[in-house]
Amino acid sequence: MKSDFRARNHPAYWAFLAHRVSGVLLSLFLPLHFWALGRALQGEAGLDAFLRWSEQPLVKFAETVLVLLLAAHLTGGLRLLALEFLAWRDWHKSLLALAAGVTLAAGLAFLLNVI
């Protein structure tokens, strides 16, 4: 049977999609992250030049999105590990809400500190 959008429109499907999208975007970001840290090979000045560039509001916004992606992938991954390796408990149904809450808290904590 071919599943249409209605069959997919439930929280677990959106969690699956969020885990995939965050994983792909984080993987694409990694080379840039490693390149930025590698600037330390040129001394403090090399790294500082990059950090000054990252002071722009748009970059800070992008950093906040990255923190949200990282937290979402972490909490979504912990949820998957719990579902796969722990015996089923009723509270597992609440893991999605918990994952979303922790993700938002991490994003907000970063945003409040970075601005």
Binding site: G23, L41, L47, G77, L81, N113
Partner: protein
């Protein structure tokens, strides 16, 4: 792909996920704490330069990422683009090696 190889990839994905869970929690807490008064190269390098503890931590972090990310991308590419076979496996292997080399270079850069 042989079943044994699939099982190996599945196990490596979960094992690296457990390591990454610990690393990412430490990383997120460090980022959120370090960013509170703005961040400078002196601050970052003051923490990491010559520190075998941070060097070891980031080396483990990079190694786990270099295992985890390519296996995840492999699943996404196979299921989304219906890409299978040696071409996909080689691409994934090259991605893992590149991430490891690029990542260890970054760890070295903030250690020396």
């Amino acid at each position: 792909m042989y079943t044994r190889a699939q099982v190996l990839l599945w196990t490596a994905q979960r094992a690296s996920a457990v390591v990454l869970a610990v690393c990412v929690i430490i990383h997120l807490v460090t980022i959120i704490y370090a960013i509170r008064n703005g961040i400078t190269a002196a601050e970052i390098l003051g923490r990491t330069r010559g520190s075998y503890a941070w060097c070891g931590f980031y080396a483990i972090f990079v190694a786990a990422v270099a295992v985890h990310a390519p296996i995840g991308l492999r699943s996404v590419l196979a299921e989304t683009l219906n890409w299978r076979g040696a071409g996909l496996d080689l691409t994934v292997l090259a991605t893992g090696l590149a991430l490891a080399l690029w990542g260890f270079r970054a760890v070295y850069a903030v250690f020396v």
